[in-house]
C-alpha cells in the first residue's frame, strides 16, 4: 500500500494504532478470511473486517435472512427469506470498496478463519477443519448474555481443549454483537501479527459485560498438535 491515495486516507487512523503501521495494513490487505456464520455474531464481525481493509472475505452461511434483531447489523426486514450470503455480500460491498466479498467455496484457499456460527456443532466442525488445514482461527460461542471467544493460532490448543461441549442459553442480541466484535478484534490481532506470545492460544470469556482472558492449555490426550 502506498503512502498516499485513497487507501492511505481510509486507513489513516488504523495505521496509527501502535504496532499496526504500513506493515500491519499490508498484512490485512493480503489476508483471505473465511467467515463461518453471517448471523447475529457474524454480521457485526463481517462489517468490521470489511471496514478494516481485510483483502478478501469468504462468507459461509447457508441460512436465509430472518426478521428482527436489527438484521444482525446487515439485513433490512425487506430481505427476509433471501439467502444471507447474497444479502451480506451486497451490504458489505456498499460498506467498503477495498474488500472483495466472495461466497465460500472449496477452492477458496483462505489464510485464516473466523467462526461465528450460531449452532455449536457447526462451530466445532468449522474449527476442526481450520485446524486440520493449519489455519489460524478464532471461534465465538454464545451463551445467554455472554459467551466467549477462543483464539487458536496454528498449532495452539484446539476448540475441544478450550471449550467443553454443553447446553447453552439462547444468545441475546447485544451479547451477540459484543462477541462478534470481540472475535473480529482477535482475528485482526492474529492476522496483523499483534497477538502477544508466539503461537499461544487464548480464550476470552464475556460474563456480565466483563471480558476475562486466559491462555488455553492442551487437554491431556488431545492430539490437536498433529496437523495432517
Amino acid at each position: 500500500m502506498s503512502d498516499g491515495g485513497p487507501e492511505a486516507s481510509r486507513f489513516a487512523r488504523l495505521r496509527l494504532v501502535p504496532g499496526v503501521g504500513a506493515a500491519g495494513l499490508q498484512l490485512l490487505r493480503a489476508a483471505r478470511v473465511h467467515v463461518v456464520g453471517a448471523g447475529a455474531m457474524g454480521g457485526p464481525a463481517l462489517l468490521y473486517l470489511a471496514q478494516a481493509g481485510v483483502g478478501t472475505l469468504f462468507v459461509d452461511d447457508g441460512e436465509d435472512v430472518d426478521a428482527g434483531g436489527a438484521g444482525a447489523w446487515l439485513y433490512d426486514p425487506q430481505q427476509a427469506g433471501r439467502p444471507r450470503l447474497f444479502a451480506a455480500a451486497e451490504v458489505l460491498g456498499r460498506a467498503s470498496r477495498f474488500t472483495r466479498i466472495r461466497g465460500y467455496a472449496s477452492d477458496a484457499a483462505p489464510t485464516a478463519t473466523l467462526v461465528c456460527a450460531q449452532r455449536e456443532p457447526v462451530a466445532r466442525a468449522a474449527s476442526e477443519r481450520a485446524r486440520l488445514a493449519g489455519l489460524a482461527h478464532v471461534v465465538a460461542f454464545g451463551d445467554g448474555e455472554g459467551g466467549g471467544v477462543v483464539t487458536i493460532p496454528s498449532g495452539a490448543p484446539c476448540i475441544r481443549c478450550a471449550v467443553e461441549p454443553g447446553a447453552r442459553f439462547p444468545l441475546r442480541p447485544a451479547a451477540a454483537a459484543a462477541l462478534g466484535t470481540l472475535a473480529a478484534v482477535e482475528l485482526l490481532l492474529v492476522v496483523a501479527r499483534l497477538l502477544p506470545g508466539k503461537g499461544a492460544g487464548r480464550r476470552t470469556d464475556l460474563l456480565d459485560g466483563w471480558p476475562s482472558t486466559r491462555p488455553t492449555a492442551r487437554r491431556p490426550g488431545c492430539d490437536c498438535h498433529v496437523v495432517y
Partner: protein
C-alpha cells in the same frame, strides 16, 4: 412496568462507540433514540463506523445514521439533534431515560456528565485509546462521575489511532449495559471503571466513588434518598 419499547435513550455521537451502541439498542428492541450528532461522514469513518456506507461520504452523519437505523429496525423511532452543548444538553437529557455517551470530544463528554448528574439520569460513558477500552456507568447520587476521575477536559491532542472492532466491542457493551439498566437490573460498570487492553487481554476494575468536592457530584449527593439515578 415499562418495556424497552417504551424507553428513550439519548446517544451522543454516532461514530466509533455511538454507532454500535445505537445498533445494539435497536437490536434489543428499545423504542426510541435521540441521537446528538453534528458532523459529516468522512473517509476515515468508513474504516470502523458500522452505520455508514460508501455512498454516504460527505453527508451529515445524523441523517445517514437515522436512515440506516430505520432500514435495519423499522420499529425504532430516531430523532436527530445537531446541537449538544452546555445550553442544550440539560433539556435533551431530561427527556431521556438514560444517556449513552459515545462522543470522542472531551468538552462534550463533560457536558453529558454534568447534564446527566443534574437531571438524575444514568450516564454510560465509553472511551478508547489505541488498544485500551474504558467503560463506566455513572448513577447520580450513588457512584462517582467523570469529574471524579478527571477534574475537567484534558487538552486536545492529535487524533489517536482507532481499531474499529474494538470500538465496536465498546459500543455493543454500552448498548448491553443500557438494556440492563432499562430492564431494572444492576449496571455492570456502575461505580467501577472497566479498563480492557485488547492486545494483552488484561481487564481490570477501577472503583470510582464520589470524590469529595466534585463540582458535578456534590450537588446531587443529597438527592440519593429521593431516588435519583433510578429509572421510573
Amino acid at each position: 412496568m415499562i418495556t424497552l419499547r417504551g424507553r428513550t435513550v439519548l446517544v451522543v455521537g454516532a461514530g466509533g462507540l455511538g454507532g454500535p451502541a445505537l445498533l445494539a439498542l435497536a437490536s434489543a428492541g428499545v423504542g426510541r433514540v435521540v441521537l446528538a450528532e453534528s458532523g459529516a461522514v468522512q473517509d476515515s469513518d468508513l474504516a470502523g463506523q458500522p452505520l455508514f456506507l460508501e455512498a454516504e461520504l460527505g453527508e451529515p452523519r445524523g441523517a445517514a445514521a437515522a436512515r440506516r437505523l430505520a432500514a435495519l429496525a423499522p420499529g425504532l423511532e430516531v430523532e436527530v439533534v445537531a446541537a449538544f452543548g452546555e445550553e442544550t444538553a440539560a433539556g435533551l437529557v431530561r427527556a431521556a431515560d438514560l444517556v449513552v455517551d459515545g462522543s470522542n470530544h472531551f468538552p462534550t463528554m463533560f457536558h453529558a456528565n454534568d447534564a446527566a448528574l443534574a437531571a438524575g439520569k444514568p450516564l454510560l460513558h465509553g472511551g478508547l485509546l489505541h488498544f485500551t477500552l474504558h467503560l463506566l456507568t455513572v448513577l447520580p447520587g450513588a457512584t462517582g462521575c467523570l469529574r471524579c476521575l478527571f477534574e475537567g477536559p484534558p487538552s486536545p491532542g492529535p487524533e489517536p489511532g482507532l481499531l474499529g472492532p474494538l470500538a465496536g466491542l465498546g459500543g455493543a457493551l454500552l448498548g448491553a449495559e443500557a438494556v440492563r439498566l432499562l430492564e431494572g437490573r444492576p449496571g455492570a460498570y456502575a461505580g467501577r471503571l472497566l479498563v480492557h487492553e485488547a492486545r494483552s487481554g488484561r481487564s481490570r476494575a477501577v472503583p470510582l466513588k464520589p470524590r469529595p468536592g466534585c463540582p458535578a457530584c456534590g450537588p446531587v449527593q443529597g438527592a440519593r434518598a429521593a431516588g435519583a439515578g433510578a429509572l421510573a
